[in-house]
């Protein structure tokens, strides 16, 4: 195995060698026109490439590389291994749980709402305002969103007080607290559901009427049509959106900080505190935490892109 690997490396080396070496004697007549054009067309992309390299790729690489370095710059796995402590793993775990819960519920509710509008026979004028509103609400994340939910479900919030005084239901007695797993999940839904609606509506539009009619003429019931035709077609789109929503929730910082302060140790809050004041006591552990975030959101997005390509096969 090792020998084989070494041989491949050797071969690639040789190919490189050959590619860089051969043009000098043989190709001047071929390369000349290309050489005259290439520099000009490339120059047009230079500002953009420079911007991306300096302010997107380089900072990210700095973090990725830093995660594998000691303070003196030598290579190590200690930082990544350092993530596997109870408190850090716990923060990843609660972050993942909140992201999964809010994206699963976001997918479900968003799907139901979009289906109600597209397939439920509601009047046509409902659709456009709903999509516009979804566009606004999916951008209404961040600090103000946290205030809105504190004013609604917080200890003195509109809904909390209404339930207590008019219906005699004390949310606190049921163990509900806005500064908790469920509180954060419900808050995240405010931007998760609209995003799902925005993405899934076109997919639902793509369900052809002929498919339903074909299923019916073969004797399928409504439930059978959904179970055996519509959902399998929509499944990649829904699962893909789930992955996107997951990454969306996992990287959300502002809402979480404004809502819970530091009472809930999710990953973005911990990383924020670490950047501000090195609370973990090891700067390079911060790099490793950030690397963990990139890996998780990156994976989620790879799944999203892959499933999206699959779903586009049907929904043209």
């Amino acid at each position: 195995m090792a020998r084989q690997a070494r041989r491949t490396v050797f071969r690639t080396n040789r190919t490189f060698y050959r590619v860089t070496d051969t043009p000098s004697p043989a190709s001047p007549p071929l390369a000349a026109p290309a050489r005259r054009r290439l520099p000009l067309t490339w120059l047009g992309l230079l500002p953009f490439a420079l911007f991306i390299a300096l302010f997107l790729i380089a900072p990210t690489m700095k973090i990725v590389i830093g995660a594998f370095q000691r303070a003196d710059g030598s290579f190590t796995f200690e930082n990544v291994a350092g993530l596997f402590t109870k408190s850090i793993l716990g923060s990843y775990w609660i972050s993942i749980r909140i992201s999964v819960a809010s994206s699963a519920l976001g997918c479900l509710i968003g799907f139901l709402m979009a289906a109600a509008v597209v397939l439920g026979g509601l009047p046509k004028w409902v659709r456009s305002p709903l999509l516009t509103f979804s566009g606004v609400a999916s951008n209404f994340a961040g600090v103000p969103l946290a205030f809105a939910f504190l004013a609604t479900l917080g200890p003195l919030g509109l809904v909390t007080v209404f339930l207590k005084t008019h219906l005699g239901i004390n949310l606190r007695a049921y163990g509900f607290n806005i500064l908790s797993f469920w509180g954060l999940t419900i808050t995240y839904l405010f931007f998760q559901i609209p995003l799902m609606i925005l993405i899934v509506t076109p997919a639902l539009d793509g369900l052809k009427r002929e498919w339903r009619e074909a299923a019916q003429s073969l004797g399928a019931s409504g439930a059978q049509y959904w179970r055996m035709v519509a959902l399998p077609i929509l499944f990649p789109a829904i699962l893909g959106t789930f992955a996107l929503l997951f990454a969306n929730a996992f990287g959300a910082v502002a809402t979480a900080i404004a809502l819970t302060g530091s009472s809930l140790n999710i990953v973005p809050i911990m990383l924020f505190a670490q950047i501000r004041g090195d609370v973990l006591g090891n700067p390079h552990l911060g790099y490793a935490m950030a690397l963990g975030m990139i890996v998780i959101t990156g994976l989620a997005n790879v799944i999203y892109i892959w499933l999206r390509m699959r779903s586009e096969r049907w929904l043209k």
């Binding site: 990210t60 026979g121 809105a148 609604t152 990454a247 990156g298």
Partner: protein
């Protein structure tokens, strides 16, 4: 039956969205005990830090928009005209800011451009502002690029360019006076999304220690009860206005196309 269920789902869903907005508005109006008043708004608007941070964020947003347009329009134009085979790659790169969380990007900035680095941007106020602007431009990149690229798809870039060239126009003239006016609607919608993102952005501004609106909101939230909700209502109205303007602008463009 089906229709009933559809209405029920829609109304329940809308209730979930409307209640927090209602709660926020109600809370912002009840600073005086026992009556509704605009007291919280008065206090907020009288706070000099509100005006300072808001103007700062607004300025940053405008600067970000100008920078993004200058960066994205020529790039998207050039890719469409000369390097169409690179389009999928460029598009992929512009989507990266959605994959890499903002907090990670700004963490990288702090480590890469600190006072002891080769490009000590965080050493001066101007440098830090510039860094924040560039950070905002990365956050806005996916939306801006997509908007402009979609706009370019609707016009015949190659013919317009050749026509302009045959009249003796250079590249700056072609981009500034031929291409840009033709994709103005797309640029505007990208600009409004950028404005909506930048005006309340918290993470980058807070970690770079700039006096922006987002960190001010968070600070108020941690220390006051009613004022934050007044601020939240204000920023919701701004977001709503931005998105409404996008709708208006794109509807205007449809009208334009129909006329042409």
């Amino acid at each position: 039956m089906k229709k009933l269920a559809a209405w029920a789902i829609l109304l329940l869903g809308m209730a979930y969205f409307i209640l927090p907005l209602l709660g926020m508005t109600e809370f912002s109006l009840s600073m005086k005990r026992g009556e509704y008043s605009a007291e919280a708004y008065r206090v907020v608007l009288a706070d000099p830090r509100f005006a300072q941070t808001f103007v700062y964020s607004l300025g940053m947003a405008l600067a970000t928009i100008v920078f993004s347009v200058l960066l994205v329009v020529p790039t998207a134009f050039w890719v469409r005209l000369k390097l169409p085979h690179l389009r999928p790659y460029v598009e992929f790169v512009t989507l990266l800011p959605l994959v890499i969380p903002a907090i990670v990007i700004v963490f990288g900035y702090i480590r890469l451009y600190n006072t002891s680095s080769w490009l000590p941007l965080t050493g001066t106020v101007f440098g830090t502002n510039l860094l924040l602007l560039l950070g905002y431009a990365t956050l806005a990149l996916p939306y801006m690029y997509r908007a402009v690229d979609t706009g370019l798809r609707t016009i015949d870039v190659a013919t317009l360019t050749e026509a302009a060239q045959s009249l003796g126009a250079g590249w700056p003239t072609i981009i500034g006076r031929v291409i840009l006016p033709n994709v103005m609607v797309a640029v505007m919608s990208g600009a409004f999304v950028t404005l909506a993102i930048v005006i309340g952005e918290f993470t980058m501004a807070a970690l770079l220690n700039r006096p922006a609106f987002g960190p001010y909101l968070q600070l108020m939230g941690a220390n006051r009860a009613y004022e934050p909700n007044a601020l939240a209502v204000i920023s919701f109205v701004i977001t709503w206005a931005c998105m409404g303007l996008i709708q208006l602008v794109s509807r205007f463009s449809k009208f334009d196309k129909a006329r042409a």
